[in-house]
């Protein structure tokens, strides 16, 4: 892997870590996006507004990056829409049941040395690798 790939990856991870640390230090909250999304669906009043503000910040941050770098994410042309919708449904249901995703379990949970998070990350990484293999190399969908 070239240095040009490694540096932004490590730098991006640094910012993600800074944001998760900042949220715990300032507001005492875990920066798990699926957890914040569950709160967004279930909470009312101030708690709801706080979830919305984090999610809006998330959208603004990625838009800012696109604006300044000029790198816009390119959608895939041949990827079926129903498969995207199914993928979203499984991700929502799965992270709802497991109470965490790549940020909640993957970043904050591993950082806390939580056993549940080590279990979750091992399982979802393994399943994702297997699924990607099947979808790409058996099914031929890219």
């Amino acid at each position: 892997m070239a240095l040009a790939d490694f540096l932004p990856a490590a730098g991006g991870g640094l910012l993600i870590g800074a944001a998760a640390s900042g949220l715990l230090l300032l507001n005492g909250r875990i920066a798990g996006v699926s957890g914040i999304l569950r709160g967004f669906l279930a909470e009312h009043g101030t708690a709801f507004r706080e979830r919305v503000l984090f999610l809006l910040g998330l959208i603004a941050g990625s838009a800012l990056y696109a604006l300044f770098s000029g790198q816009y994410p390119v959608p895939r042309s041949a990827f079926p829409a129903w498969l995207l919708a199914l993928s979203g449904l499984l991700v929502g249901l799965g992270t709802g049941l497991a109470k965490g995703c790549t940020s909640g379990h993957g970043v904050c949970g591993l950082a806390r040395l939580s056993r549940r998070s080590f279990g979750a990350v091992g399982i979802f990484l393994g399943t994702a690798v297997l699924t990607t293999y099947l979808v790409r190399h058996w099914w031929g969908i890219y």
Binding site: M1, L15, S34, L89, G96, T127
Partner: protein, 144 residues
């Protein structure tokens, strides 16, 4: 201040995801596709994120309370139960299909010219809502 810091932390998180390449499902899938042209970049994203967070959390949790709240909202370390295993399997399948996880999926709603994520996030909202309807194992055994 609480609400302002929610927004700023979200913003830095979103910047980080984009800089790291997590908002490119092609890059994420290139990491998951170990039998293809494997791209290990995500290991460095996770490594540096967990490194920073691990050190900072250790220090932060020694404080009596967070800056803008009266306590830390962190549950006790739970067990690996059936719900965690089933949920992680379903999440892994969904993530492996499209290369989107919740953070990048939502972050990309602000990127112009990418209708993919609107479809993904619609499914994401529906799935998250469905998870609330799932019967709770502990509640059930507690009743009988």
């Amino acid at each position: 201040m609480r609400q302002f810091s929610q927004f700023v932390c979200g913003l830095v998180f979103g910047l980080g995801l984009a800089l790291a390449g997590m908002t490119s499902p092609q890059k994420v899938l290139a990491f998951l596709d170990v039998t293809g042209t494997w791209n290990p970049a995500l290991l460095f994203v996770l490594g540096s994120a967990v490194g920073v967070t691990g050190l900072a959390f250790h220090w932060i949790l020694q404080r009596p309370r967070p800056v803008f709240d009266s306590c830390f909202h962190i549950g006790p370390p739970g067990k690996i139960d059936r719900k965690l295993v089933a949920g992680s399997i379903l999440f892994g399948i969904g993530w492996g299909i499209s290369g989107y996880c919740p953070g990048p999926g939502i972050a990309l709603l602000g990127a112009p010219g990418n209708p993919e994520t609107a479809v993904f996030v619609s499914g994401l909202l529906l799935g998250s809502g469905l998870a609330f309807a799932w019967p709770d194992q502990q509640a059930k055994t507690g009743r009988t």
